[in-house]
Amino acid sequence: MAIVYERPKSLNGAPFTYCPGCTHGIITQQVAAAIDELGIVDDTICVGCVGCGGYIAWFMDTDAIYSLHGRAPANATGIKRMNPDKVVFTYQGDGDLASIGTAEIVQAAHRGEKITTIFVNNATYGMTGGQMAPTTLVGQKTTTSPYGRDAAHCGKPIRMCELLSTIDGAAFIQRVAVNTPGNVRKARAAIKRAFQCQIEGKGFALVEVLSACPTNWGKTPAAALDWIASDMIPYYPLGNFKDFQ
């Protein structure tokens, strides 16, 4: 019998700690599969962040470090500059990257830091119990926007791909989602290309992945996937914002 599907070899086999129905699991798996396909597991260094996704550092069969909240791009800078021939990637949530760590991500892109960032946008702070993030949609109820996010009070959600793609040092920027099998395949291809960008020394690369947090959205896993399509994608258009030759 032929094997048509198996766990990526770049995962160490530790059971994922993500909630049932959380798409962090799918994204982590796509990252590992991309590393498998590129054959770079021996040369990759994973920089985990603070947040649910930070546990990726415990799941990868690569070298890894756990970095402070928002600072993964700076940490990865130190690692990459000392290991210019290795592949260094950060895996960050939207609280981590688009709130406390905006300076670090913008400046890593501005320096054209040759790292790859996987940015998981689930429109909330997952790990701390579903507070409002800069990516929370207008009207979306969270524990710190209990009446729904009010644009007059705290602005409209930030679009990081659009912002980062204005920076010269950013060589590859794409937004994907993992709400359907087709989108998962596109996400994998984008993640692979973001690693390729680094391997070819082109500059900073980021893939934003629209992701479900059923636990804090108060939705079933299936309804959470539907909400990505009905509410998130219209505000956060999928597609490539910047590519390299």
């Binding site: 470090i65 940490n75 800078t77």
Partner: protein
């Protein structure tokens, strides 16, 4: 090499390069900016990496990444920037990553002023960690301390801080780089350094968060009960002068201690003065105070701050045996040898 005349900040940067510092990440702030400027000039010529970060926060996290990659790495700053580095410094004591942090103290709180000060004695991140903290009193010593700091950081896998005051950073003095302390041998190999698992025997992946095989509490418990006591035993440094038959003992570090030496000379024949000069602020040399002789009536603690910070440790070391008197300021009436002299004489008269 004979003595070279250098500015303190440059002397410390040069010492770091001679100690094998491979990377420096920093951010401009007075009175330490000559340190990143020196590295920016010298490191590219000497095979190292200089990178100006977007903030002290980012600089320290770059330091953490470079250290995790096995490099000898340094950053420097002053009080407002040191605050921003503390979360990462604390993280590095947990993950056990070596690095050297030079703090050239200025007057606070926060932006404060550019004036030299000794106001960051108590500045610490969260979680009760400890780091060896050197306090140089002249430029030769500043260079030697920075040089040795790299070995100490590697030996214990723990960051080392060099707390210089703004005077040490800004003044010029001769420094002899032939007189650097001996290199420590048998430093533990950095088997944990991140270069991809392919670089490691058996391709074993390395996760850097806690030392291998330890849980969070275990790692903390090990540091507090074993590592820190070992550092206290091995690395406590102090200069003790004539305390056995002193009438009054001066306790001071850095530039304040330098001023004390003038006062001791000036008051010879008037009052017998001894001095305890901590060269490490942590570990603090509590035991030095046991050498104080029976004639001592008081301790005077000159510091470049308004009500005293190190004086608390002096009081702990004194355990009620001698009153401790602060003298100093960092703003209007800056600490001077004359102010120390006047304070000593006032205390002395009060004792008659």
């Amino acid at each position: 090499m004979a003595k070279v005349l250098m500015k303190g900040n440059e002397a410390m940067a040069e010492a770091a390069i001679q100690a094998g510092c491979q990377a420096f990440f920093g951010y401009p702030i007075t009175p330490q900016s000559e340190i990143p400027e020196y590295f920016a000039r010298e490191l590219p010529k000497r095979g190292g990496l200089f990178l100006q970060a977007e903030s002290e926060l980012a600089a320290m996290n770059m330091v953490m990444g470079a250290s995790a990659s096995g490099a000898r790495v340094m950053t420097s700053t002053s009080g407002p920037g040191y605050c921003l580095k503390l979360e990462t410094l604390a993280a590095m004591t947990l993950t056990r990553l070596p690095a050297v942090v030079v703090v050239v103290m200025r007057s606070g709180p926060a932006f404060g002023t550019m004036k030299a000060a000794q106001e960051d004695y108590r500045m610490n991140g969260n979680g009760g960690y400890k780091v060896v903290t050197f306090a140089p009193s002249n430029l030769q010593e500043a260079a030697e301390m920075v040089y040795e700091a790299f070995d100490i950081a590697d030996q214990y896998r723990n960051p080392v801080v060099v707390m210089a005051d703004g005077m040490i950073g800004q003044m010029m003095e001769g420094v002899d780089y032939d007189k650097m302390p001996p290199k420590r041998t048998a430093l533990p190999p950095k088997t944990w350094a991140l270069h991809g698992r392919g670089a490691r025997a058996g391709k074993k992946p390395q996760l850097l968060f806690l030392p291998d095989g330890m849980g969070h509490y275990g790692a903390k418990h090990y540091c507090e009960t074993q590592l820190y006591p070992e550092i206290i035993r091995n690395e406590t440094r102090v200069e003790i002068t004539d305390v056995e038959d002193a009438d009054i003992v001066l306790a001071a570090y850095g530039t304040a201690a330098r001023m004390c030496k003038n006062v001791i000379r000036e008051l010879q024949g008037t009052v017998r003065l001894g001095m305890i000069r901590p060269k490490t602020l942590w570990p603090f040399p509590y035991e030095a105070f046991e050498q104080i002789g029976p004639k001592c009536k008081a301790i005077v603690v000159p510091e470049i701050n308004i009500i005293g910070q190190m004086i608390d440790d002096v009081r702990i070391a004194s355990a009620g045996r001698w009153p401790a008197h602060h003298v100093g300021d960092s703003q209007n009436d800056f600490l001077t040898p004359n102010r120390i002299r006047d304070k000593v004489l006032a205390v002395w008269e009060g004792l008659q």
